[in-house]
Symmetry: C2
């Protein structure tokens, strides 16, 4: 009986991002990759450990060090977060979300073209 999909905090997701970008990596490499955040090395190691506890990453021994790799994929995480927003904020419906964006976000021509292509693709698949 273990957690279906671990839920990741915001800080944790930034550590995941490093591993999604490339894995496996040692904690030292991860710390280096997160230099821009201003986080203390200790902080990053804490986050790594929490991710281990949540089984969002795995650690494989490599000599004296561990190499970390993601167990939760970026796609899975995006799904969770998207669904959460959809349910919490838009009553679970996609169209209101898009309607919202259409009114309040600046969509580029490229965005619009992509969206149209997507709808077409979805539509074709649906029939």
């Amino acid at each position: 009986m273990n957690d279906a999909t671990p839920s990741i905090t915001d800080a944790e997701s930034q550590v995941m991002a490093v591993l999604w970008d490339q894995a496996p990596r040692s904690s030292e490499e991860i710390v280096a990759a997160l230099a821009g955040t201003g986080w203390h090395e200790k902080t990053i190691r804490t986050l790594l450990n929490r991710l281990l506890g949540k089984q969002a990453v795995a650690a494989d021994r490599d000599g004296r060090r561990y190499l970390y790799r993601p167990l939760l994929s970026r796609e899975q995480w995006q799904s969770q977060e998207s669904r959460s927003l959809l349910d919490r904020v838009f009553g679970g419906r996609v169209a209101p979300l898009l309607a919202h964006f259409s009114r309040h976000e600046k969509l580029s021509d490229k965005d619009i073209a992509e969206l149209r292509a997507l709808i077409d693709a979805i539509d074709r698949k649906a029939r």
Copy 2:
């Protein structure tokens, strides 16, 4: 000075929802409207007070009671939450978000029709 836009927690947003649905309302009415949540009356009053502190609602005296009304609109809140998801999870781009939904969410025919109508509307407005 004062907070540009207060950030609302999940529980608080459910209280806001009652006021977005109809306002102004007394705390008693709000408690009644949230009967389905299983929350204790005290809990709901706490949430109301926190919303007051965050200036997400205003309270106008009405005899011995207060009448509450939203200062933060549903639209504003949806914007905040959407933008937060977009930035945190999708690097700030709308198309990847929608692409994600197209791959992972089951869109009903009605959804698809609505989306198409939206795109058309956006497109017409854009040109």
